[in-house]
Symmetry: C2
């Protein structure tokens, strides 16, 4: 006899599993461990001191309205604030068209819910954000991969995928991608916009990292080149506080309407109080002060990681040099098993995420690794990367 | 040609629609309208003054941890606080077994996700909470109804339903039910516990209202009589603040594990900051001061509604006299169309919810109405109920 109630489970549970990265993060509680795993902001980036004041402003200004049931689409002053924030990115967002969700993760889940019937095709860049794969998989899609290079997805590969499959949507993290740190180039954005418009295809552009730019030129969102074909999803998790779970999206009208209906049935609406805090964070000018501070904290951490890698990693390894974001992506020579490297690194008190988790095909990416540089300071990064380099050299010597 | 992207929608959208009550609430913005619709707490029940202090305590005590990514199962101090709160209800809840969600609505959605494959049978008391029907329907179940009387669901009807159908789960609001205000009697709880244990059936007990008791004896949750067969779901929306979206559940181990996995994929975790506020609200003793205040506010409102109904409603109408909660349920004589009454009442600036929305079969409950007494004060209730009584008499005279 199996577990009680096992016969009650839905078919879709067959495709659902614990997120391996969140499970890896659980294992990191060991003392002395330096984590280059995860994609977690440094706690010192949170505007704790400002929040004493922001809380008071919210209670003074909104009173009970900040604590009451509210509209499914989101707290109206927050949507106004978001529209202003998005305008600075070149996105023409009417507050009426925005929808607020519990983190961008729940945008992705809800998109899966309204778009994916079992067997439908979703196109992913390869490698792709693991959380998106987790969110979509519970609706039983098939995945097809779009090839990528240092400039992001390759337009010809996208064309081929759209021509050969009945694709429900294409999912992309366009700027400082998770896991690779890569940014889709301006020229590629224009090409891809033309391709999706030509084929009336739908793109989901997930953009959590674009504010974390440490050098180089700003690139406008893909959404701004193909607004009628793009669901633009983002979050305040990387520029305010992830614990507030503030995600949002801007979608074409029909998609917006179904996202609204699905969200209403799933959770009525998102946390009003957190939305009110974020409203004051944006409108009170705190964000304009805080984001440069976050950048000033992360830039030297990334530089420390890149320069230590250059000194300590074996020369047959390649890695990305992103202009921003939270991650560096490492590709080892064929034959290296990054999971074996992981276990050896854990013994040396260094953690990272083996890159294979970011591929839909389990035989891909075996020699790849994702390194995060936002969580710990330069000294810890240097010591961790040096230790990891030593582990890699041992593997090379086998 | 249809709307762009219409061909992209999943099959499940065919069963999804805007929640008619939330849509009715939108229409209530007219000046002078007195709403007996909705199920919304009075704004004066929110502990605004306490929240200035609670916010400071949270920032002082938890600092960045209240703003950071956190565990999918919920903020550990909040789960500890909830376990203590549930113990006062006779529920033996280990903090390790609790799961926190974005309102109890998202417990219901996630249960639907892990349990319902298209065509699976869900058993509902009739009438039933509309939000639950919305949450489950997106997973394409079939519904069977369990008959009810003034003591809640009728055990023989439950037995018949369980014997004749392969039921995935039974959904019940056991105390001060929405929409009827009815409470499943102690004796019935014992009988129903025996029935579900005997058949190894799963019950979802939704319990948002039991703290709002204005008179009579406390009845322990059904969960306490059949803990291994019950998913107990509740919320702080009615005793703290609904805008914080704090729901939670206690489930048998296998169900808990799948709820965890599904939640991880859907939204990673719930708002950490709101959970920290609730922790201090409970552990700082604020809840023990606030709930009696809420009861003292609502009890006279309910009494005003009941006594005005007795004076002004036609004698062929029947209604419930609940010992607590937020609703009174009215049954008119056969032939009355409560939706026509609704439109006439709106002209007189009184709103309520036609009861038919709470039935799965659209031909049921045509003469029923749900009245809420928590949102407006006694004077407004008396004038609204008197006006509604006049409308009902006009209908009787037709």
């Amino acid at each position: 006899m199996g577990e009680p109630f096992e016969q009650l489970l839905s078919q879709r549970t067959s495709s659902m599993q614990r997120n391996p990265i969140r499970e890896i993060l659980r294992a990191l509680a060991q003392p002395g461990m330096i984590s280059l795993a995860g994609g977690i902001p440094a706690p010192e980036t949170f505007p704790i001191e400002d929040l004493y004041r922001i809380n008071e402003t919210v209670l003074d200004r909104y009173g009970p309205a900040a604590l009451q049931y509210d509209l499914t689409e989101g707290f109206a002053p927050f949507r106004e604030a978001l529209a202003g924030y998005l305008a600075t990115k070149g996105i023409d967002a009417d507050a009426e068209r925005l929808l607020v969700f519990n983190g961008s993760q729940s945008v992705l889940d809800t998109l899966g819910k309204i778009l994916i019937s079992p067997g439908d095709v979703v196109a992913l860049e390869s490698p792709s954000y693991l959380g998106a794969i987790s969110a979509f998989s519970s609706y039983l899609p098939e995945y097809v991969s779009i090839e990528t290079d240092d400039d992001g997805i390759i337009p010809e590969s996208l064309e081929r995928v759209l021509d050969q499959h009945k694709v429900k949507f294409v999912y992309l993290v366009t700027t400082f991608q998770n896991p690779t740190g890569r940014t889709l180039s301006l020229r590629r954005r224009q090409e891809i916009a033309a391709i999706v418009k030509d084929r009336n295809a739908l793109v989901v552009e997930d953009d959590p990292y674009s504010d974390l730019r440490y050098r180089g030129e700003v690139v406008p969102p893909l959404q701004s080149f193909a607004p009628e074909n793009t669901v633009y999803a983002s979050t305040l998790s990387k520029i305010f506080a992830p614990g507030l779970r503030l995600g949002f999206c801007l979608a074409p009208p029909l998609i917006r309407e179904w996202l609204y209906i699905a969200k209403q049935g799933a959770d009525l609406h998102s946390n009003t109080y957190a939305q009110a805090l974020a409203t004051e964070y944006i409108c009170g000018g705190f964000i304009d002060k805080q984001v440069p501070k976050i950048i000033d904290l992360y830039r030297p951490r990334q530089e420390a990681m890149l320069s230590t890698m250059a000194r300590h990693f074996p020369q047959e390894y390649r890695w990305t040099k992103p202009e921003g974001g939270m991650f560096i992506w490492v590709e080892g020579p064929a034959g290296v098993d990054a999971e074996a490297v992981y276990w050896k690194a854990i013994e040396r008190k260094v953690a990272f995420v083996p890159g294979k988790y970011f591929y839909v095909d389990p035989s891909d990416g075996l020699a790849t690794m994702r390194l995060n540089f936002t969580r710990v300071d330069e000294a810890a990064i240097e010591s961790a990367v040096a230790a990891l380099g030593a582990v890699l050299k041992e593997f090379g010597a086998n």
